[in-house]
């Protein structure tokens, strides 16, 4: 057993993990954070994507002990107290959800992309999501959703700014 300290969705944990355990198993089996999906177990499909220290990783390619000391965001950590994250809202509004198995990974890859680049071109969106597969062939709408999310986030920022100036 190997003891690790890490943060999941802003909450700190100390757990003992089996040396051979992968991050995806830790999240799903131990923490029951089942929004993280496993599709291929070899880093091809991106369904198990989570954000680790600000960057996306495929949790099927990360050993649990490698998460020691890190800060992890899963799909469950995206929702806000007052409802959906703008990216989640955009996926709904754009019709970017079909079977839904790729959706959590897609949303998290979109978040990592938009955190870095708030106004990506369609080409940049495609590149940013290139590690996430959708077998329902819903890519166009997913790209639409990320573009829409970028708009929502900007609106939110300007709303926030005007609210602050009013104060």
């Amino acid at each position: 057993m190997f003891r690790i300290n890490f943060t999941i969705n802003n909450k700190g944990y100390t757990v003992d993990v089996d040396e051979a355990l992968r991050l995806v198993d830790l999240l799903r089996d131990k923490f029951q954070l089942t929004g993280t999906k496993e599709g291929c177990a070899e880093g091809e499909c991106g369904a198990c994507t989570v954000i680790m220290d600000g960057r996306t990783v495929q949790s099927c390619l990360v050993m649990a002990f490698q998460a020691d000391g890190s800060n992890i965001t899963t799909i469950e950590g995206l929702e806000r107290e007052d409802g959906l994250h703008p990216i989640q809202r955009a996926f709904l509004d754009a019709g970017a959800v079909q079977c839904g198995f790729c959706t959590p990974g897609m949303v998290l890859s979109s978040k990592a992309l938009l955190d870095k680049n708030s106004n990506p071109s369609r080409e940049e969106i495609r590149e940013g999501l290139s590690g996430n597969l959708c077998r329902c062939t819903g890519y166009n709408k997913i790209v639409d959703a990320v573009a829409l999310a970028s708009k929502y986030l900007k609106e939110e920022e300007s709303d926030g700014a005007s609210e602050n100036s009013r104060k």
């Binding site: 496993e38 599709g39 070899e42 995206l78 709904l92 019709g95 959800v97 839904g100 198995f101 959708c134």
Partner: protein, 414 residues
């Protein structure tokens, strides 16, 4: 008229909220207390008689039970059209990946380890992988009598006479490949017997009502004693129309009265479900010098692999669509589904209608090239319109906007 509430409006899908938040429950997201774990032992040979010995595996600590064909309480057979698949192979295996035994253990790790200890003695039989070879009389027989599972015949006009009148005849052979659905969510399920004695199977499926029947038959119980629960399904595309793990799980839960769960790895998923039929397509198409199609002859040989699944529907549809969307007065189509020792084939997006355009459309291009007319022009001259009759005699009496569609494409392309 009052404005419509749904049609013409963009509706948010009912399961959308659950899916964008990660809360949607797929079978692998269900954790039942004290659930046992199942693992399937599969054949590693393409065609062989088998003898199974589970003694060593049973002795491993943590193994609860190992199911084989001897444990099947009902009918050891299933299949959407023909009951040609066994729940567990009893005498012989017909492909790599055929289920032979099902290890039920206290953990996934133990189940998987124990599965390696199940001893299978194979006596290999001659095998066949090419559907054309499999049709020959001396080919190894995969099921009972002949490997030709289905034959579809379509005749219109007089092909022989019509070819004599053609200015150009193109004869070619085409082959498509086997295709895997690769839905993102691999097969997974849980099964348990509830207080009322009902056997519940929760698995992502395309056919809950049909699964109910097949599970009941496999277990030898009334249909009412089986409940199929269909949670969120992570893609299917036809690949979840056949039984995979449903009967295995149900049988385990029924015999042990304990919940059982399992999830296939991607590799096992590849073994477990049907594929798209590869089809060998021999085409002979003739036209006059103006590019008007006069005659077409097609032989379609679909490889359905070790089991039939939806082979009949697939190869019938391939036959029906063999002309493509073009009017031809003289047509002869022969379409076959043939057993081989390959992975089995069944439903996948398009059901046979997807494969034939590979041949029929290339024939059009080649004829156009030979006659020196454009690929667009030859299609416009022959395409279905209102009033056309298909090769099967169907009168198309409304809404055939193909010509308009081709013209739109032409306008956008050139």
């Amino acid at each position: 008229m009052e404005p419509l509430k749904i049609v013409g409006n963009r509706e948010i899908r009912v399961d959308g909220m659950a899916k964008v938040t990660g809360k949607a429950i797929y079978p692998q997201d269900i954790f039942l207390e004290n659930a046992l774990y199942g693992y399937t032992v599969r054949s590693t040979k393409v065609h062989a008689k088998i003898e199974v010995d589970i003694k060593k595996a049973e002795e491993i600590e943590g193994v609860v039970k190992i199911l084989t064909h001897k444990d099947v309480t009902g009918m050891n057979a299933h299949g959407v059209l023909f009951k040609d698949q066994e729940v567990f192979c009893s005498q012989k295996v017909r492909r790599i990946g055929d289920p032979i035994a099902f290890v039920i253990a206290k953990s996934q790790k133990v189940a998987k380890e124990a599965s390696k200890m199940v001893e299978i003695k194979y006596t290999e039989l001659p095998a066949v992988f090419d559907p054309v070879e499999a049709m020959k009389e001396d080919a190894p027989i995969i099921h009972d009598t002949t490997n030709i599972r289905y034959y579809y015949k379509c005749r219109k006009g007089n092909v022989e006479e019509a070819f004599k009148k053609c200015d150009v005849i193109v004869e070619r052979e085409y082959k498509t490949s086997m295709v895997e659905h690769a839905f993102l969510q691999t097969e997974s399920g849980v099964s348990y017997v509830d207080k009322e004695g009902v056997i519940n199977v929760c698995a992502a499926t395309q056919y809950p009502h049909f699964d109910q029947l097949e599970v009941a038959e496999g277990l030898g119980v009334n249909k009412e004693q089986v409940r199929i629960i269909n949670p969120a399904v992570g893609g299917a595309f036809g690949g979840r129309e056949d039984i995979t793990l449903q009967i295995h799980l149900a049988l385990g839960a029924y015999l042990l009265k304990k919940p059982i769960r399992m999830t296939y790895s991607r590799e096992e998923s590849f073994y477990a479900h049907a594929k798209r039929h590869p089809i060998v397509m021999k085409y002979k198409t003739g036209a006059d010098k103006n590019g008007k199609l006069i005659a077409m002859e097609a032989t379609l040989i679909g490889d359905t692999g070790a089991y039939a699944s939806w082979a009949i529907n697939v190869m019938r549809k391939a036959g029906v669509h063999a002309t493509g969307p073009y009017e031809i007065q003289n047509v002869a189509i022969d379409s076959y589904s043939v057993y081989t020792n390959n992975p089995y084939c069944g439903a996948m997006r398009g059901f046979g209608a997807t494969q034939v355009p590979v041949a029929s459309e290339q024939q059009m291009d080649i004829i156009a090239e030979k006659l020196g007319i454009s690929p667009i022009e030859i299609r416009l001259r022959n395409c279905f319109k209102v009033g056309s009759k298909t090769a099967t005699g169907q009168l198309l009496n409304e809404s055939v906007p193909l010509k308009k569609c081709i013209e739109e494409v032409q306008n956008k392309l050139f």
